[in-house]
Point group: C2
Chain length 81, copies 2
């Protein structure tokens, strides 16, 4: 089973890396871009756990390690393949 | 319009950050995790372009700046909201 985890900065938290990418894209000539926000995407392979157990584990991992919940939000999807 | 862009390391490319997270998760007591791969997730807001133009731009941005296509794959979804 594979978990797809998305970690993004909360609304209102400054994203200097996103601003740098926005500025680079403008320098390259792209028009109409109003904002770039950069987050993390993680794929976690889990074996030998039920879907419910794996979901519970992933939520717990996000809270404890994968996201800094003071400034970041997280979401995830489980993929049975 | 918002583009959701996912950049991941190609299969076979070593991911030391993923290995470090895997090792931390094991130290925290999680069982059954066989692999962690870490990628980037970007949200790009685009205004005043048609969906076709925006998709073409995003693909081009991925090739030129957002992904290093020697070692990374990318994918994206457009969101009309």
């Amino acid at each position: 089973m594979k978990a797809h985890v998305y970690v993004t900065l909360k609304r209102g938290i400054l994203d200097p890396a996103g601003k740098a990418v926005l500025s680079s894209l403008e320098s390259l000539g792209y028009k109409g871009i109003s904002q770039v926000r950069i987050g993390k995407y993680m794929e976690i392979d889990i074996e030998g756990r039920s879907k419910d157990e794996a979901e519970k584990d992933i939520k717990d991992m996000c809270e404890r390690l994968l996201a800094n919940t003071t400034i970041e939000d997280y979401s995830f999807e489980m993929d049975d393949k």
